[in-house]
Amino acid sequence: MKPVLVISERDNVATALQALEPGRDLTIARGRVAVLDAVPSGHKIALCVIHAGEAVIKYGSPIGLATAEIPAGAHVHTHNLASTRGRGDLEAPPPRLAEPPDERNGSERNGVGKS
């Protein structure tokens, strides 16, 4: 089993398919990433630096905004990523029809599932 899965080439996070220990070197299509934090299986790891306020991208689409500077190799979860939707505690923008292209057929995904 591959240690991580990058779903779309637009993504700046990958999904850990097994628990990742700090110090481990991962090779992905676009290069190498050194694991910084312990990342549980099923959780996300940053593939590059994601600055506070930048979108975290998975499935080729934004899944929220970084709430802190996220270095490459860091665990990405509720401590550094927040939703922009359904946030009654903030004043969230209404949903938009502006659409990023559907990247779910990204090339790296092809390696995993498509035959």
């Binding site: 999904t15 996300k44 209404p94 599932g113």
Partner: protein, 391 residues
Amino acid sequence: MTERPGFLGYRRPDGRIGTRNHVLVVPTVICSSVVAERVAAATQPIGTAVPHLAGCGQLGPDMRVTHDTLAAYCGHPNVGAVVVIALGCEQVVAQTLAEAARRHGKPVEIVAIQSEGGTVRTTAKATAIAQRFADALAVEPREWCDASELVLSLKCGGSDYTSGLASNPTLGRVTDRLVALGGTAVLGEIAEIMGAEHLLASRATRPATATKLIQIITRVETEARALGLDIRGTQPSPGNIRGGLTTIEEKSLGATHKGGEVAPLADVVAYSAPITQKGLTVMDTPGLDVESVTGMVGGGAQVVVFTTGLGTPTGNPIAPVIKVTGNARTARQMADNIDLDVSGIMDDSETLDAAADRLFAEVLAVASGQQTSAERLGHREFAIHRRNPTI
């Protein structure tokens, strides 16, 4: 030319196709629900009840949803005959439910607790009627039906990271195949489209359909925001978050894979409203599993495919619910609840297309009568969505 895929179903007088042939025992109101359950228990597995908490003390729109949902079940193609258990003083009108069954060519009788003279007499009389109906239904033959006759409900629950990577994309491929064959699929759970609506809207057959989708998503989001709370904790759920899902956008993008990648978005309909367009329909249901499945079956789905990461037992009183997981641990730990294990996708031992082949075959086998785990275990959960307080 290859033979078209199909299944053995029950062709109804209204032209629709059933995958099951139940006697439906319908309480008009919470007060007659226990009697309905007893009548169904005495005549199961053909007899099945839809006990519920509503039917009285409800205002306009909520009352209409209760009524329309119960009427939709009375007319549903998986139902061969109907027994209505009334109380006598409730808001839901037994005659209107009976009329819904008759309109679709189904035999129906009403037994009312107040006029019959109590629980014991009502239960005895209604059980005798239900048994007579069941005896007649038991000998009705199935016949070959084209796969395009299927209306497939797409559901996920207890999601984890495997849902968006394995089980939902597998189901999405089945959706695309079924729709390409001329069939129909329905996707609910508006909150779990939030963040992925651009993908579905871009596949709408008409601009008005895309607009309608965006409008109901905006409504749900506005309702959630009006409470002044962060929906995190509800969406995603605590279990979703433990499983690695961080935001509703992430959950939605994974969940929306169930709707395929190319199937056109043909319609957007209200809760439990009839699904009339071939292709993909989005139904306005809440994310709560049982309320969502109840509504999509009410709309006419004859089979439900329910993907899960963490595992969940939910069934339905009249429609088979097929459980699919991409989590190998769940497939082992909750083996009695799982119908199909697609965890091979996670370790590269199976392709999505191969898993989709198996799931499509499973859907057709279940449509032809093969029992699901939920059916074998007696899971018949039913809950009508409510938006307003009881008065």
